[in-house]
Symmetry: C2
Subunit: 114 residues, 2 copies
């Protein structure tokens, strides 16, 4: 497994990639953020959380759809949380995850081509 040092998406927000030439530092930050999204399980988790009732999902509801163990799912959720895409709330036994408002839109803005 590759260790990810994920930078919060807000740090590299929001000038489109093609508007100004990226500095090496900005490119490093942005690549770390994008790495959090460059994984099929994490993309599915984001997608499932977004489609859940109330925009929030319990980790207990995410295990079966992706077909992985709870520790593996929790690892992917942690990467997405540290990258600023998901917010985590603990209630009782379980942790609940919701999309951070604006986080995916900021990534979208980075790839606007004009």
């Amino acid at each position: 497994m590759i260790a990810l040092e994920v930078t919060d998406v807000s740090a590299s927000c929001c000038t489109p990639l093609v508007r100004d030439t990226l500095t090496a530092e900005a490119a490093d930050e942005l690549a770390h953020t994008i790495k959090a999204l460059a994984d099929p399980t994490r993309l599915r988790l984001l997608s499932i959380v977004a489609a859940s009732d109330g925009g929030e999902a319990c980790v207990c509801d995410l295990i079966e759809p992706v077909g992985l163990s709870q520790p593996t799912v929790s690892h992917h959720l942690k990467v997405l949380t540290e990258a600023g895409f998901l917010a985590r709330t603990k209630r009782g036994t379980w942790a609940y995850y919701a999309l951070v408002p604006g986080a995916l839109d900021r990534v979208s803005q980075l790839f606007v081509a004009s």
Copy 2:
């Protein structure tokens, strides 16, 4: 180095990630595409090509700005080309690269959150 099997961006185009729950197959394709962007050198190369006169850059003009060897730069350009982000034209000794119109916009659309 990790072998990238990059899927053309057009294959996973263009339903926003959060609109429908991603299938495992769609998530695999999309993750491959995003992996092409999850690298600081490739992000800088895209940015430099986009900022070049006429929207096109010779590989000979890309080596110095990113500070890497020509084979390494050519490898990164190949990944971006195979992923559908850059178009390559050979003229004389050198290869020239330009952004594929719409390719980054398609990625942008994937992360629109609503």
